[in-house]
Symmetry: none
Subunit: 418 residues, 2 copies
């Protein structure tokens, strides 16, 4: 079944509000196995709304509209749906009573306009609205389904979940199961090179890639008779993908985050960590402690922006700063070891670099970042050359460092400090 | 001129991501006096994309696409635009060089695929992308304008602002000048209560409010014959708004950020600052040092997540932690004073709270945050009750604290420590 979402409201076209409804409905329908082929936004203009409505209903089996059910003259979705299906608008007494009750409850006078909200195309299934005055409706005719929902997400979402999704179940065959793989360390085009043939040739499960900041996401979606079977057909494709990409590059699945993966490795292995940040200025610690249970593993962070702080807090040698500078492999190493020893943690991690826009030289350009990791006695450093503006360089340094901690931890846990 | 936005990407139709691009572009065009009549989202399906593209270009004068400029076979926007305008795709050497440089800089192998990103419909105006490998382009033909931009907002937004908007200016009559006022400390509905009548009745300049995370933005847009005249008619309306809202609540104008305003206050008055963070875990320092010149004012930050770190690093008294707990006004005060004295700065700022989801009690619920500020000998604290998930609570605590630093600094600079 092909679905289309038509969002009605001039405020969307002016960019005054974000179209969260389209995302929400799309996700719910996708989980449910219904393909959304288009999302359209149109203003409260009768002619353009009518055109968009006709167009959508001609190409899709199901059209879900949001908006245009309010009490004003601008609110026209029901009128236009009635016209499309050649139906009269008739009063629904139950809805009228509910609207009257609603107004009593919020201590406001009901206006004549609001009564318009109790009229629906004849023969509609009414969708109750427990959070506002605009009930929705479903019109089913000639193999087309029109579902009319109000615009405010607080009203729309419960109506979708409580009435529309259960209603749509009757049209649904089979089960749709998705599994998400999360990839770091290799870019979108490399992923495409390595597994493009799988993406192209897989039909069940399908494999859909998309790139987010600092990661690539693969969604494997199987359509089967039951969940168990879905996972059974996903498994070999997932294995093949992991082999091609390198298992270490798949850092997590589903909604896992890189900081969550690192945090779990630390907590499960009773390892403690501390951070010493220069160019990332606290963002590394800030992301690590996104993970709610982190407090048993993360003991302390230092943002040592000045050289003095590096010397006092982390015992970086003045000599090192003079000889190699603050942005150097040597300094990163001393920072990582210093914070670990100062805080008494197993692991210390450091960042030092030039985030720009100023401060770069030919020898040490903007984007040059050294990161250090100390794990129970052994220090390693890495040199990164990052691109982007100040914000991006810092974000990428944090993403790289978190992933590097993960890789080094896995190595350490497998091999020890050899 | 009628414009239409066509967002390309299956991830949008699956509801994996929110279409923030459509909102952003719509708002920019609206500010500019160009009407957006439709926003459409279509997946990476060649046939449907082609249909949507043709349809959009037939009914609109300007079609702006986002997405589909990536290196994979799924990325088809340029191909479809070339077909629509009956043009060949030709190599742009400058773009190719930039892509090669980009890959060298990030130390990755360039794949054959990436070279596809340097091909454009013949005769296009190329739009440089300084934040990624996908340049955009503009095709102008037969009174139609097609503007192709990449999907990632961090790449799309600068390209829109730096190239597309200046390009569109030539189609625009008169001068449109906007001034942005940035407001913190009062919410969207309070702003509406205080200046709703101005927003409703102002026609030139128009006043358009919108709410962002932790701030409300007002855009005053004047349409006149020249820039000077525009600022002259904006000025009295701005003054009226500032009076109504309270001048201190307007923290900045145009693209100023709260951390930038704080940083400038510090640097201009030769004041130094350090931070001691518990629940915000480094995010406060991380945001402060967004400001490029901050290194002369921000000397050091401590992320003292454990009680031990609070005692060792900040000299918080063990007694205080036992009597009042780490989440207390007393602890916040000692943290702020402690970090200032330990780092030898004029100002010390602290945060300590319960970001959740666990750890809340009846007495100290999730969202309870104490912040402290020490300025040259005087300590103050504030108790905040914040709502939202862990991430939101921490973001709001950082936003509140930065604004509070601003307000306290202004007071201190005016009155001293009286």
């Amino acid at each position: 079944m092909k679905a289309e979402i038509l969002s009605v409201g001039t405020e969307l076209l002016l960019g005054d509000i974000l179209n969260t409804n389209a995302q929400y409905i799309s996700r719910e329908l996708a989980n449910f196995g219904i393909n959304v082929y288009y999302q359209t936004v149109v203003g409260d203009n009768p002619e353009r709304l009518k055109n968009a409505y006709n167009f959508a209903l001609n190409r899709a089996d199901i059209v879900i509209t949001t908006g245009g059910l309010g009490p004003t003259k601008d609110d026209l979705t029901k009128e236009i749906a009635a016209e499309y299906f050649n139906k009269k608008l008739v009063l629904d007494n139950k809805s009228l009573q509910e609207i009257i009750t609603f107004f009593k409850k919020i201590n406001r006078e009901i206006s004549e306009n609001n009564k318009k909200q109790a009229y629906f195309p004849e023969g509609s299934i009414i969708i109750e609205n427990n959070n506002g005055t605009a009930p929705g409706c479903i019109i089913e005719e000639n193999n087309k389904i029109a579902i009319l929902l109000p615009g405010p997400p607080k009203e729309m979402i419960p109506m979708l979940n409580e009435t529309v999704i259960p209603y749509l179940k009757k049209f649904h065959e089979g089960t749709l199961v998705s599994k998400v793989l999360r990839i770091t360390g290799i870019g979108e085009s490399s992923v495409d090179n390595l597994i493009g043939h799988i993406i192209d040739n897989q039909t069940n499960p399908t494999v859909a890639p998309y790139a987010k900041d600092n990661e690539v996401i693969l969604r494997l979606t199987a359509k089967t008779n039951n969940e168990e079977e879905a996972y059974r057909i996903i498994e070999p494709v997932e294995r093949q993908i992991r082999n091609k990409l390198g298992d270490i590059n798949v850092y997590g699945v589903e909604n896992q985050t890189i900081e969550g993966v690192v945090a779990k490795l630390l907590i499960e292995n009773k390892l403690t960590i501390s951070t010493a940040e220069s160019c990332t200025g606290g963002l590394l610690a800030g992301q690590l402690i996104n993970y709610p249970g982190i407090s048993s593993a993360f003991l302390e962070g230092a943002v040592t922006y000045s050289n003095k702080a590096k010397i006092n807090r982390l015992k970086v040698k003045e000599d090192t700063l003079i000889k190699f500078g603050a942005v150097s492999s040597e300094c990163a190493a001393e920072m990582a070891e210093g914070i670990a020893k100062e805080s008494g943690t197993n692991i210390g991690v450091s960042t030092t670099g030039i985030a720009g826009p100023d401060g770069g030289t030919d020898e040490k350009p903007v984007g040059l970042v050294y990161v250090g990791i100390y794990i129970n006695g052994i220090v390693k450093t890495k040199k990164l050359n990052l691109v982007g503006n100040r914000q991006k360089i810092r974000d990428r340094a944090v993403a790289y460092t978190l992933d590097w901690i993960r890789r080094e931890l896995i190595k350490y846990l497998k091999e020890g400090n050899n």
